[in-house]
């Protein structure tokens, strides 16, 4: 009987205070939609940034006359004695020549059959931030400030320093910015919803006062408000999710077939996103109603 009574009270309040209830619902709807669009965007951006960071590599160039034994020895060093190496790729003189010739056919025509390119190993680090450690371990900085190499068959270790620095700092900024934006958006949503609820409660503070004077306990007054908050949050969230689903099916999915970026594997899957958004909207508006009411209960 109690639950039924509270539910009826909540429904009555929704009906009788249609305008503020609608405002609260619209606020939930808009913020949930914003979050629903923004969260995948953030994830796609982060995913893209991570992909770019995956391009951070170090090249170990062999001396031009390195023998097969030299190459085996260096491979051994790289595989067993160098930390943070995630992937190792060997590019022989011939492969390098073929690849470069394909890129710049005219230049290589002029060279004739001479192959000026050395054999090399391409190292992918386990974490892009560890690239410097790899370079330092293969090519430590000598006492004079010059770099030496750990094996005489290695000519030079290059991590294309400038490129690497640029990639690392740019992706860091991108990640930080999106994280900050996401945090701000979440805070703004919570404040907006809480404020709307507070406004609709403020309009009814006299009612709460009367209830208290008639002898209603705090929770007797509060439950209908909390249930009302749950209903407002659920309806607003549900509408937003429906709109998002329509957007996804109508706009994003057709595009996804043409562009790989949108179908980036790192984005959260849709059902999980929906569940999260619904839960958040219900929780925020229910807690918002319950907590905002406290001020008016002090009679």
């Amino acid at each position: 009987m109690r639950i039924g009574f509270f539910l009826r009270e909540a429904l009555r309040a929704l009906r009788r205070n249609a305008v503020p209830s609608f405002a609260a619902m619209a606020t939930v709807l808009v913020t949930v939609m914003l979050l629903g669009v923004f969260i995948p965007v953030v994830q796609a951006t982060t995913g893209a940034a991570n992909e770019v960071r995956g391009r951070v590599i170090a090249d170990v160039f062999m001396v031009n006359d390195a023998t097969a034994r030299d190459i085996e020895r260096v491979r051994n060093i790289l595989e067993n004695d160098t930390p943070h190496v995630a992937n190792l790729e060997y590019v022989s003189k011939e492969q390098a020549y073929a690849a470069e010739k394909k890129k710049h056919p005219e230049a290589y025509q002029a060279l004739g059959t001479v192959n000026p390119l050395p054999a090399m190993f391409r190292i992918t680090p386990d974490d892009p931030d560890n690239i410097t450690k790899i370079v330092n371990s293969l090519s430590p900085v000598g006492p004079g400030g010059d770099r030496t190499v750990v094996d005489s068959a290695i000519d030079e270790v290059s991590n294309k320093r400038e490129d690497t620095d640029k990639i690392l700092s740019v992706t860091r900024v991108v990640k930080l910015t999106t994280a900050l934006l996401a945090a701000l958006l979440v805070i703004a949503s919570v404040l907006l919803v809480a404020n709307t609820i507070r406004l609709s409660l403020y309009a009814r503070r006299r009612e709460v006062e009367v209830m208290k004077l008639v002898g209603a306990t705090d929770w007797f007054i509060r439950w209908p408000f909390v249930i009302e908050g749950v209903l407002v949050g659920a309806i607003g969230g549900l509408l937003a999710v429906l709109l998002l689903a329509v957007l996804k099916i109508a706009l994003v999915d057709p595009l996804a077939d043409q562009f790989e970026l949108i179908a980036a594997p790192e984005t959260m899957n849709f059902p999980l996103l929906i569940a999260l958004l619904l839960f958040a909207s219900v929780a925020v508006s229910a807690a918002g109603s319950g907590i905002s009411l406290r001020r008016f209960l002090r009679v």
Binding site: F5, E207, E209, M211, V214, G215, V299
Partner: protein, 245 residues
């Protein structure tokens, strides 16, 4: 005094602003009494009423209602204490979004009254207060006198041992006021103790009931106006109230 419904013992109330609400006030009200609390604005009437409702706490002294000391009631228990009081306000304090019937029913729902309980009691009390035809009207569709009747009905639906009325006729014309006082008189005749705070001196004089007069927070008069017929019927009462003397 044992058995008193209300007992003020050396009660003082000083507000945070420094204003004095009550200054060493003592009096007792016995079961079944009809008491007027009179005095000009700012004399302490409303302070006494708010203390009885435990909206505020006394600065000094003790207030007992039905033998319970109000200071000893924890905040959490205040709602349960208030259920033993019927309260009528000058501004009616009805729930604006509820019909007459629902407003009265709310007082029962608060105490966990069953639907059956509500169906039994609410129509009865609304008949008693003459509102049977306005059951499904909202408060803003009623006249002031009718709204006050709803308020009285809500206060009395639980049959509390004590009914407090703070300026119940303050917003009403004389004829309507008599109707409300008649209603309170009828409730008093069922054995309920009634305390009415008012500044309507003429009304008080006509009622010829006990009067406690406050001035600047002190009791300046407390007289048992004995010169009335205690067995007076409600009708006789109304006739007398409407006469000019």
């Amino acid at each position: 005094m044992p058995g008193a419904v209300i007992e003020f013992a050396n009660v003082s109330k000083v507000y945070d602003s420094g204003d004095t609400g009550l200054d060493d006030v003592s009096f007792a009200v016995q079961p079944g009494e009809f008491v007027f609390l009179v005095g000009a604005s700012g004399s302490g009437k409303s302070t006494a009423m708010r203390l009885l409702l435990k909206e505020i706490d006394a600065t000094a002294g003790t207030i007992s209602v039905a033998g319970r000391e109000l200071n000893a009631i924890p905040r959490r228990r205040v709602p349960y204490y208030r259920r033993n009081l019927g309260v009528v306000f000058q501004d009616y304090k009805l729930l604006p979004n509820r019909t007459v019937y629902e407003n009265v029913a709310y007082a029962l729902q608060v105490t966990g009254g069953s639907r059956r309980d509500i169906r039994d009691k609410v129509p009865d009390i609304l008949r008693l207060t003459g509102l049977s035809l306005k059951l499904h009207n909202l408060p803003d569709q009623l006249s002031g006198g009718e709204q006050q009747r709803v308020s009285v009905a809500r206060a009395f639906v639980n049959h509390p041992p004590l009914l407090l009325a703070d300026e119940p006729t303050g917003n009403l014309d004389p004829e309507t006021s008599i109707g409300i006082m008649q209603l309170l008189y009828r409730i008093n005749k069922t054995g309920t103790t009634v305390v009415v705070a008012t500044h309507d001196v003429e009304m008080v004089n006509k009622m010829r009931r006990r009067v406690i007069e406050l001035s600047n927070g002190r009791v300046v008069r407390d007289e048992q106006a004995g010169a009335y017929a205690a067995r007076e019927s409600t009708r006789e009462f109304a006739v007398r109230m409407r006469s000019d003397t």
